[in-house]
């Protein structure tokens, strides 16, 4: 190990954060750029399935709440892109990688939101799973990522709670509403569990990420945490648990559960989910359609500069 590497590993082992101007191994930088940009892309693409329901929210209150939530996701995307930029990648490079398919985003957003209950289920389960992951990432070794996670977690709690509240309203509503809630739970439960990624044994980046403390807990441990905490929440809703093999294991102190459909997982990751093409097409279209706004900002700034120069002369 070079002295630089030794110094880097000393910091990692002492639970000190790595800051942007510190020396870091190239692979650490790359690994972080991949993870943080993927995280940022997920926030941004995640606006689509919910944004789909803003105009059709069942009340003005739900609409205002959903609008706020989607707005938060855009903000979270911004925090994360900025954190990634401290590692020397530009915003436009990241957008290009997303649009060309080189960079991934969370597969959960390739599932369609068919009913209003799906929006509730996303807030409750998808944001709930994201929180489990992000709470753990508050302790990540890279300073800007860690601080971004702390900020995001603070804001995210409202997302999960509004989702659960909306779910509760449906679950305690008419038989049709309850059925809609159950259907949304049945469809979103499994993909929410897949958000934690493949089994530790199959996870390509896990080992190095754990060693460098980019990740602090393994995929399977985080998934187990989420499975355990969700049981009570489903019970309070009065809905049926989608996992028929769910069983408390006294010895482990955790729930045992069914294995996931990993073929589906890999198939969606590899581009064959319901909405993969639609999500990226929409992102590209929105980006292109926004070009005049970016042009207008540039023109305005140019005008302001010229005026300032004129006044100074």
């Amino acid at each position: 190990m070079t002295p630089e590497e030794q110094n880097f590993m000393r910091k990692i082992e002492a639970e000190e954060k790595i800051e942007p101007k510190d020396w870091m191994p190239e692979a650490y930088r790359k690994n972080l750029i991949r993870q943080i940009s993927q995280h940022a892309h997920s926030e941004v693409i995640g606006m689509q399935p919910e944004g789909n329901w803003i105009t059709r929210a069942p009340s003005l209150r739900r609409k205002a709440v959903l609008l706020s939530k989607v707005q938060d996701e855009a903000g979270h995307g911004l925090y994360l892109y900025s954190a990634a930029e401290t590692l020397g990648i530009s915003r436009s490079e990241m957008i290009e990688q997303l649009q060309s398919g080189k960079a991934k985003y969370s597969s959960i957003f390739n599932y369609p939101t068919l009913t209003w209950a799906d929006v509730a289920a996303i807030g409750w389960l998808v944001d709930g799973a994201a929180i489990v992951n992000q709470v753990s990432l508050q302790r990540t070794s890279y300073g800007p990522y860690s601080r971004g996670m702390i900020r995001i977690c603070k804001e995210e709690s409202f997302h999960q709670r509004q989702g659960y509240e909306a779910m509760l309203a449906l679950a305690k509503g008419s038989p049709e509403q309850k059925a809609m809630a159950q259907d949304a739970l049945n469809r979103f439960y499994w993909p929410a569990l897949m958000m934690f990624g493949p089994h530790d044994s199959e996870s390509a980046h896990s080992q190095k990420s754990m060693e460098w403390k980019i990740k602090r807990e393994t995929n399977d441990d985080l998934r187990q945490k989420f499975i355990d905490q969700t049981v009570k929440q489903i019970e309070v809703l009065g809905l049926e648990h989608p996992d028929k093999n769910l069983k408390w294991n006294e010895e482990r102190g955790h729930y045992d559960s069914s294995d996931l459909d990993w073929d589906e997982f890999w198939s969606v990751i590899n581009g064959n989910g319901h909405c993969n093409r639609q999500r990226i097409e929409h992102h590209i279209a929105a980006h292109d359609e926004g070009e005049w706004v970016r042009d207008a900002i540039a023109a305005y700034n140019e005008k302001k500069r010229a005026k300032k120069a004129q006044n100074a002369a």
């Binding site: 000190e16 709440v65 601080r147 409202f158 999960q160 659960y164 509240e165 509760l168 929440q233 309070v236």
Partner: protein, 97 residues
């Protein structure tokens, strides 16, 4: 001849007390340039190992919102209590999610 202090540039000083934490504003000082400001800041604000990293920024480069205008500046957020987690009342067994 020395410049009177007020002719020197004013700098704002930010200290990171521990790696991983945000830099926090601690005060300001006058200095000729960035390098000097950094040295003064070290001598002035971190004499008792208060920090592991210092930022100095020209005060004139800081663009600040006006506190007198805070009411209308933040007004768009005041009527949105639903952005707070505490706004949602959930049953006790799951309230701590």
């Amino acid at each position: 001849m020395t410049k009177p202090t007020e002719k020197l540039e004013l700098f704002e000083v930010f200290v990171r007390s521990k790696r991983g934490l945000d830099h926090k504003h601690v005060g300001s000082l006058h200095a000729e340039d960035h390098e000097q400001a950094l040295e003064y800041a070290r001598d002035c604000y971190t004499r008792r190992s208060e920090g592991v990293s210092l930022w100095v920024v020209k005060s004139s480069d800081i663009c600040a919102s006006q506190e007198d205008d805070a009411d209308c500046f933040y007004d768009p957020n005041d009527d949105k209590p639903y952005r707070h987690a505490t706004y949602y009342v959930l049953p006790d067994p799951v309230n701590n999610m």
